[in-house]
């Protein structure tokens, strides 16, 4: 077992930190139990962290939605006073915020998934810790039953393995959550300063150009829609509201 046994050995090395033995076997068991409880608390804190990140993203999402509404209103206003250029700018901003919204949704789904995994782990770990506690009390009561001693030792090893596993999962999830938080933080700052993220940032040059084209025609479409709603002519020169607006702006798709 090449890879598997090397991996197993690595985890066992990590585990040994949970298995510091005291002289007195009874003390060792209490100490292990203590560590297990701490680990369980740590896991519960991690669940709380994930939930906090989730809430924060939801809050940001709501803010972005508000801003989208505001930009929509501004586009309307701009069109009303004949400033199609400003209306276009507002719609462009709105479009890039909408791209951001999709990212938020994705991240929220990821966090919910992580939370679910942690909850399952927490249930498993707490049942096993409880089972360990029962065995521990039994062993302490019948100190010289050798078979009980062996069993509890096995249980202690099994639990420290479980704890290393949980640790690993928490560590990996924290990395992911930290990355998300950093991105969310950056987004907060951008939104606050009024600077919006680049269109389709993250992709390569071609992706960005394609996204820009896509956004542009979406902006054109929305502009035309607004004009229809506001009963403005769809041409580039406007001004006075008209009664019968032409059906739509030139479509070039």
């Amino acid at each position: 077992m090449g890879v598997l046994s090397r991996f197993t050995n690595y985890i066992k090395t990590v585990m040994s930190s949970f298995l510091d033995r005291a002289e007195d076997p009874g003390q060792t068991l209490d100490y292990s139990y203590q560590k297990q409880i701490e680990q369980l608390q740590g896991l519960r804190r991690s669940i709380a962290d994930v939930v906090t990140s989730e809430k924060r993203l939801e809050l940001q999402e709501a803010q972005v939605n508000q801003q989208i509404e505001k930009l929509d209103g501004q586009a309307r206003q701009a069109l009303g006073v004949g400033r199609e250029d400003l209306a276009r700018l507002a719609l462009e901003r709105k479009q890039s915020l909408q791209t951001q919204l999709a990212t938020f949704d994705q991240q929220i789904v990821q966090l919910k998934d992580q939370q679910q995994k942690f909850v399952v782990m927490e249930q498993r770990l707490s049942s096993r810790v409880e089972s360990f506690r029962t065995q521990k009390e039994m062993v302490k009561a019948q100190y010289n039953a050798a078979s009980a001693q062996v069993r509890i030792q096995e249980a202690a090893t099994g639990l420290s393995e479980e704890m290393s596993d949980v640790n690993l999962a928490v560590e990996r999830a924290q990395d992911k959550v930290l990355q998300m938080q950093a991105r969310a933080q950056a987004m907060d700052e951008l939104t606050a300063s009024g600077t919006l993220p680049e269109l389709g940032s993250g992709g390569d040059q071609l992706d960005r150009q394609l996204a820009a084209i896509g956004n542009q025609s979406e902006v054109d479409r929305q502009l035309a829609e607004l004009k229809t709603q506001m009963q403005l002519p769809s041409g580039d020169q406007q001004g006075q509201p008209q009664q019968l607006p032409p059906p739509a702006a030139p479509t070039n798709d």
């Binding site: 090449g2 890879v3 090397r6 197993t8 985890i11 249980a155 596993d165």
Partner: protein, 95 residues
Amino acid sequence: MIVRIMTEDQYRLADEQLPEVQRLDDDLEKAVDSGDDESFRAALGQLIAFVRAHGEAVAIEEVVPSDLMIPAPDMSLAEAKSRLHPEPAVRPATE
């Protein structure tokens, strides 16, 4: 023997499944040596699928150590590599 899929759960495997686990581990080793992340993930996926299909999940109130641990299903080659002991000192019992 008892096998743990990291970040998931423990499974009990019958002795007659060991040769296949061994074979899948060989594939995994080849993938690690090749340095190709995609083949590593494929080999790991097969191994995990085999354990899930043929193993019996260890009961939740049972607290037992594992003989063998398998990297988490979503581990990349780079991450797994950083978690490999330099040499396979502990041989899993094949009783």
